[in-house]
Symmetry: C2
Subunit: 357 residues, 2 copies
Amino acid sequence: MPELDLSRSSVELTRTLCDIPSVSGEEAALADAIERAVRAVPHLIVDRHGDTVVARTDLARSQRVAIAGHIDTVPVHENLPVRDIESDGERFLWGRGTVDMKAGVAVQLILAAELTAPRVDVTWMWYDHEEVDAASNGLTKLAAARPDLFAADFAILGEPTQGFIEGGCNGNLRAVVRTHGRRAHSARSWMGVNAIHAASGILDRLTRYRPREVIVDGLVYREGLNAVRIRGGVAGNVIPDLCEVEVNHRFAPSTDPAEAEAHLREVFDGFELQVVDVAAGARPGMQAPLAREFAAAVGGEVRAKLGWTDVARFGGLGIPAVNYGPGDPALAHHDDERVPIAQIEGVERGLRAWLTD
Amino acid sequence: MPELDLSRSSVELTRTLCDIPSVSGEEAALADAIERAVRAVPHLIVDRHGDTVVARTDLARSQRVAIAGHIDTVPVHENLPVRDIESDGERFLWGRGTVDMKAGVAVQLILAAELTAPRVDVTWMWYDHEEVDAASNGLTKLAAARPDLFAADFAILGEPTQGFIEGGCNGNLRAVVRTHGRRAHSARSWMGVNAIHAASGILDRLTRYRPREVIVDGLVYREGLNAVRIRGGVAGNVIPDLCEVEVNHRFAPSTDPAEAEAHLREVFDGFELQVVDVAAGARPGMQAPLAREFAAAVGGEVRAKLGWTDVARFGGLGIPAVNYGPGDPALAHHDDERVPIAQIEGVERGLRAWLTD
């Protein structure tokens, strides 16, 4: 059974965590190792729920912060074990999970063990099934089973942000826009109605659409509306009676899901539209005192998070939440996933500086 | 083993032929029955090649006519055995194969046995695998193995035409038109290029396209250009890098395949285009003396055939060819396939009148 040594450096621990593969659904061995390591730390109260491990301080501080990271990865693709590489004079850990997001988890584990008396009480959460559907997500299940563990005044998610604070997140909506026609033999096409030709109107609206940039709590959220899938057709000699365009809308956290849906219905007025998935965004909450103190301690620019992350789960509970972790999110899920060692160390310094004040 | 009684009526024989299921690839039992029945007819010389049966007269007539029909059907869909139905005072045989095209084959078999001294020599051909790819088609294989059997001055294919003569056929071309883009996470869509949005230009051209009507040898061929399939997309959160639109072009028999392809390249100028399948049409050949005599004997309007049929195989050999058979082609492949009994009898009368003069 793999052992985690929380007294070593966060870079070494990143390597160990990555080399215990934990693709979504196969996190048990890693969750076991994390649980055993944090149960050995006297100042932490540990709970286990499925493959999610929660470790809390109980210092009767006036404020509590949740700091969370997921322990699963997307499938390995010949990019394990982890390797040390150097590129343009910069040192990296290369391999699956280095960016998304075991370096962030490593920093959290090191600090959970090291900081016996942080300035706020901390609830550390390491959870499973983030890379798959929302219903399987360890945080979703934990919130249903143990809502008490979510009591917090502020939350930090260790998702990759290149070591910058990224506040909140955009909302995310997927919908299918459909056209209907009437089948006919393509030798007598005028006896039918071509649903793929009718989808021309949907694509026209998409190409003409100009997404907004929306300022929320001082941060700029860039929106988006894109076709992500298109399907239509029956056979090579049949006029198609159905065409489906799946669109993905990213909307600023000042817009709620109902408003986002209403906007799409306006954009695609005249077409059948069915929402298949929607997740609210999260406001950055950078006006909250704890958030401002965190930003001051960490330093550097505060940005808007454009991708949807689990910060929205905290936002939904009224808890201001930010993303803060090492690694470039554009390299997440990439075969060439790699994290700069300096960013792991920088995030470790930033979190330690704020928690010890 | 099923027995075919060629002395009964063509309507009765249609019933028997349909009730011997012969979906493409499973024609052997029916081919065996046909072969045995025509080998019992003294004035016919019989050849068998795979599941194709050829029966010829050898009367040293100055002219020879090929009369052909395929014996396979598309899959049965709870529409066998054949039933007698009546609708709006008209009597039908209902079931798979009644239209496409066992009624036509039944008429041919009856006349092959009955007409000991037709005014022209006749080469009767009953072939397999018409409803599937061209490479499997029994006529394709016979033409490669026994080109001598295709010697003829005129050809009649018994495909359903509602008892009218339909001359020649339109050509048929399928092509894939592609757009390329660049993948990106849909939360940062501006870092990618959306190939589905780019396909808007392809659909615009299709919706603006106005097909021609072309007069060839006095018959009007209506052309067509339609999307029959569209595919694009990688995942719900990825900007797609490829979109493919499959188009089907039906072109008049006065246009050859190279001209049809050049036309499409002009229509989709600026897009990648790949021809996946092309078949030349067939000119109606109604100026040929035998064709005119045939039209005069049968009577009624002569129309253009819009769907592609095996007449093009004869056209490609320089043999004028027409379609002439009972049944509405719009009901071919339909679950509710049914042929009017009057049309079976009418086509039998028409062919007999011409062949006996």
